[in-house]
Each structure stands twice: as C-alpha cells, then as structure tokens.
Amino acid sequence: MSNTAKRVVIVGGGHAGGSAAALLRQYGWQGQVTLIGTEPTVPYQRPPLSKAWLKGEQELRDLLLRPATFYPDNRIELRLGSEVAAIDRMAGCVVLLSGERVAYDHLILATGCHARALSVPGNQLAGVVALRTLADADRLRPLLRAGARIAIVGAGYIGLEVAASARALGAEVVVIEREGRALPRVASAPLSEFFQARHTAGGVRIVTDASVEAFDGGRQRVTAAHLSDGEVIACDAVLVGIGGAPNEALASAAGLVCDNGIRVDLAARTSDPAIYAIGDCTHRPVPLYQRTCRLESVPNALEQAKQAAADLCGRPPPASEVPWFWSDQYEVRLQIAGLPFDVAETVIRGDPGSGSFAIFHLAADGAVQAVEAVNAPAEFMAGRMMIARRRQVVASRLADVSCSIRELAG
C-alpha cells in the first residue's frame, strides 16, 4: 500500500492521540503525521496525575508517554498549544483558532473528555479546581499541604484517588457525594462499601446523599462549601470530580454522527470515511456485550489507536480486548475487567475484611461478565480470561476459596 504522500492529522495530544502517532510509524505509515494538541506538553500519561505525580513521587520524564525527542526522530510534527476551531470536511482541512488551515487526507479525532463543571454559585473562586490535565494537577498539588482542609465533590475514582493522595500528604479530607454511596456509577455496592470503609479508616470523612449548593469565599478564595442538607464545610481548597463529558463539539459541528460521544465502528471510523475518532471522546461498539458505550480508560484509548492505525496502514484489525480499568488508593490495588451488563448474580470470593478479595458478576447463564479485584491480581487475570472466553461458572464454586481459581478458569 502506498501511503507516502498521504497526510494524517491527529487532533488531540493525549494518550490516544500520542499512541496513534507512534503506532502509525510502528505500522509503517510513510506519509506526514501531524499531532495538534491544546496542551503545551508532549503526550503524557494522565493516570498518575491523581496519584504518584500529585504526591511528588514522579519526574516529568516518567510521566511522558514517550520522550520529547521521539517525535522529531519519528517524523511526527507536533503542533502543541494549538486549538482546532473547526473541521472543514469539504476542503479536507482543520482550521486552527489562529485561522491557519492544516490540510489532511485522513483525520484522527482524539479530543478526549473535559471535566464536568459544577454549576453552583462560587464555582469560579480561587481554590476550586478540577483534575484533568497536568496544569490542573500542578494547581492542585500546592493546595494539598499538611493540615490543609480539602473538600472533594464527587466520590468517583478521581475524587477517591485524590483523597488518598491528600491524606498521604497530611491534608484533612471531606468527600461529598450526591448519591447514597461512594463510586455509585462505577463500582458494585460491595466494592463501594469496601472503599468507604478504607477511606474512613484512613481519616477521610465521606458525606453521602448531599450535594453542594454554593461555595463561600472571603477575599476571592474559597472558604466553605454549603451542602443541600444544611451543613457548611469549612475548607481551604475544593476538588470537583463529578465525571467527564466527551469533547464532541468539533465533530458534531462538522456533521459527524455523535450521540454521547463520536460514533465509531470497530476500526474507529466515524460517519465520514476520511475521519477516525479514538479514546474518551468516542461512543463505540463493544462486541463482547453486543452493545455500544463510552469507555473512559487508557486501555480503550490504546485499543482504538491500534484500530485506527491498523486500518490506515492496511493491517488486519487488532484482536478485540476485554475492557479493563485500574485504580490505586493507599495500599489498595483495584483492577476491574469487563462491564457489568446483564448481571443476574454477584459473587464475592474471599473476605473483604482481609483486604484481598474479588467480586464476580455473572449473567443468568453463569457467564462471567465482569470482575472487580481488590489486591487480587490472579482473580483479575483469571476473570479477564473467563470474560473473553465467555466461561460459565457455578456461583457457589466461585465463592468457595478452596476451589482454585485456576480450576475455575478452566
């Protein structure tokens, strides 16, 4: 396949965009590759921003996806600190905010997500921050001093990871969650219960069934959060972690089909054959569950980067992967494989009190749909394998720790 003269433009310099650029070269793409990113930094890993980076345990070179020299060495043109204002599909170019037009033969949208804003009075006060980018993390880091009082809005993964990091740095932490439990949309009830207990033991106060109605700020700096139940929480800083929303405005304005994310197929193609979309900004098929959904995760970003690069380079599509996620809080390593669709039965293997256990979610026919493994790497790996093979198991045997996981995995 001759692709010497074809130009690929990638919009978005995150994990997905950066990986797509590298994979195009790895798969033999000869034509021009241009990566346009709004952030000033070469592509880096976001997961450490709430953990090692925030705690000051990591150097920038370890955060970067690849060293800065990688891009010129591999003829990848970086246009950092540049924002794309529009896609002109008729002309085959993207228009930068500066007015400059960058022509493409193939476009890859890797625009990611943005942190949802909390629309309450006082949300613009100094000391109220979100966490999505390196710049966000560097704003948050000095706020997490020993003795500082931090209010975290939203008990999702980012909120809880920051809570654990803040405690490690000696800050006082209150987490405010609108729903009745921590991790309400992203973990099963027993897992929520475990993390709530772990954070409580770690000195974090978790307030559930309460939302923030306003922030107070003397001298322009946040000083308190007013909750819907009437409580006023005095604080020196606030992290808002109430989820992300896909950056689909560019795609949507260009007339690409969007519906809670840019719609793509299993080769990451959008409704325009010249345009691909990958990563957090997409709404994609997940054949394992015969569904489509949005997956905000690094493994998903990498999988779709492979799909797009393979399709462009005329390679066979990569093998389908089981979606998976991970989170580190305190000494707890959580690994989740699969998605809990059509769950008929939930089985806990091991004792949550021991700090090492796994929660398996089974469909009505006994097939393993998902596993949430807490300090249980073998169960995670075995679960991931069982999900991929649609392995059916007997719930009572799975719950019986005297049955080896190897035997159960088959």
């Binding site: 070269r25 990688f70 690094v298 991970w326």
Partner: protein
C-alpha cells in the same frame, strides 16, 4: 549505554539503547518496538508488557518472586512460559548489556 534486543514473535529483532535504571518495558516503548503494549505504563497492573527472557540471561534476571504481584499476573497471562517476565519489572543495569527478550504472540 547498555543495549537490549527485543525479538518480535515473527523473529524480527530490534536493538535499542536502554539507560541504566530504566525498565525494559520503557526501553521498548521509547523506541517504538512493536509487541509491547504497556497499557498501564509500568504499574504491574495489566500484563501487556510480557516477554520471554533469553535462556542465557535468565539466571541474571531471575524469575518473579513467589507471591508477588508480577507472579500472580503472569500465572494467568496468555501464553505464559517458565521464562516469562513482565518487562516493566526488569530494571536495566550495566551487567544486563546485551540482554535478549522475545515477545509472545499477543499481549491480550
């Protein structure tokens, strides 16, 4: 700088300079060596940087510690063998100059 040779499953070799103190996984990623996915970036959370250590180097590298996270992950990795390691857990040293690792058929 010490060198590592990564051999793809199809036999294609790639030799890269890997600085002392850097992981063998990182050496592959930084040099765009195919066959190492490294989903988690070196946290020992994904087992997608799985390699087979060349027999001549195995005594120097050693096997994962029994009961370790790495050993548990590898126990269910696709196509694991007795010489399997997660390359994010192998830190480059001067005396590993010339190390040879082979890639499995797939990482998922």
């Amino acid at each position: 700088m010490p060198k590592v040779t990564y051999i793809e499953h199809n036999g294609t070799p790639h030799t890269a300079d890997v600085p002392v103190g850097t992981s063998v996984m990182r050496g592959a990623v930084d040099n765009n060596v195919p066959g190492i996915d490294a989903d988690c970036g070196g946290e020992c959370a994904c087992a997608t940087c799985h390699v087979y250590v060349d027999a001549a180097w195995l005594p120097k590298i050693g096997l994962p510690q029994e009961g370790s996270q790495e050993a548990a992950m590898l126990s269910f990795a696709a196509v694991a063998q007795a010489d399997s390691r997660l390359s994010c857990q192998i830190t480059m040293r001067e005396d590993l100059d010339g190390l040879v690792v082979r890639m499995p058929e797939g990482q998922h």
